[in-house]
């Protein structure tokens, strides 16, 4: 835990970070920018896991181990998504979601 900072403040911070990510996901049309908003959301969740573990039950490590798995999964997801985006760019020469219509109809 952080001296003098309550769990509520950390959770408010992660909530704001999470919803900034959702706002970016809704308003961006570039696929890479959407993926970046997703990273913001994943980060907020990882902070939440560690903070709640540290504040409420400091002697079990469940949340802290889970945050490591979250980072590993986020790395895997990003690598795969960027490979798909690169391939899509070579197919269609754009990564704008409004112009990618390969699977439409």
């Amino acid at each position: 835990m952080i001296e003098g900072v309550s769990l509520f403040e950390i959770m408010s911070l992660t909530t704001i970070l999470f919803f900034i990510g959702i706002y970016g996901f809704l308003t961006r049309t570039n696929l890479i920018a959407m993926l970046m908003s997703l990273e913001l959301m994943v980060n907020a969740e990882a902070i939440n896991f560690v903070a709640i573990n540290k504040y409420l039950s400091p002697h079990v490590l469940q949340g802290q181990v889970f945050s490591l798995f979250i980072i590993a999964l986020a790395a895997a997801e990003t690598a795969l998504a960027l490979a798909i985006i690169l391939h899509l760019y070579r197919l269609t020469e754009t990564i704008d979601v409004k112009e990618v219509e390969e699977l439409k109809y």
Binding site: E3, F18, F19, G24, T29, L40, N43, A72, A74, I85
Partner: protein, 173 residues
């Protein structure tokens, strides 16, 4: 002192996250995301979880950001602002997300059931290592192995997908 540091880190996280989702230039948005990730690792260091802070710095700020920068350089015309939806169509998402965030924060602050434990604990790397590799109850050896297989599968899949041939040219031929 810690309180001031926490508020500085929070301000950095929120400001650069907001810049990262609103900047019109993709490369700059990537750089703002890098600042957010570094500030988040600072939060982990402040919570005395050094290993997670190091992992955040090396995997996120070091690895994933390099992937992002390469992808931006290969797909984007750097310096040109990317296409953006009109300001009028951004109002509704803004209202909805900020309203939901306010609701969530209100719900967090009105919850009374949290039992306070005022105890600062330092998480050692050895504790995490034992937790990850123990077979006893509460051990995480199975997810650990599954993650390693998942990373191998993702590595192969990323190579296969990124090296696939152009479909457009095949259709033309």
């Amino acid at each position: 002192m810690e309180k001031i540091m926490f508020y500085i880190l929070s301000a950095v996280i929120v400001v650069f996250a907001a810049l990262s989702v609103t900047s019109r230039k993709l490369y700059r948005a990537t750089m703002y995301l890098l600042y957010v990730l570094i500030a988040v690792s600072g939060l982990y260091f402040m919570m005395e979880y050094d290993f997670m802070g190091a992992v955040q710095l090396s995997v996120y700020a070091g690895g994933i950001m390099v992937l992002f920068i390469y992808a931006v350089m290969m797909t984007d015309k750097i310096g040109q602002p990317m296409r953006s939806i009109s300001a009028k169509r951004k109002i509704l998402p803004f209202i909805v997300t900020m309203g939901t965030a306010a609701l969530a924060i209100y719900a967090i602050y009105s919850y009374q059931g949290i039992s306070k434990v005022n105890e600062a604990t330092v998480t050692k790397v050895s504790q995490i290592g034992e937790k990850l590799l123990t077979y006893e109850a509460g051990g995480y050896v199975l997810p650990f192995e599954v993650i390693s297989i998942l990373l191998l599968a993702v590595m192969i899949a990323a190579i296969v997908i990124a090296k696939a041939k152009k479909l457009v040219n095949q259709e033309k031929n």
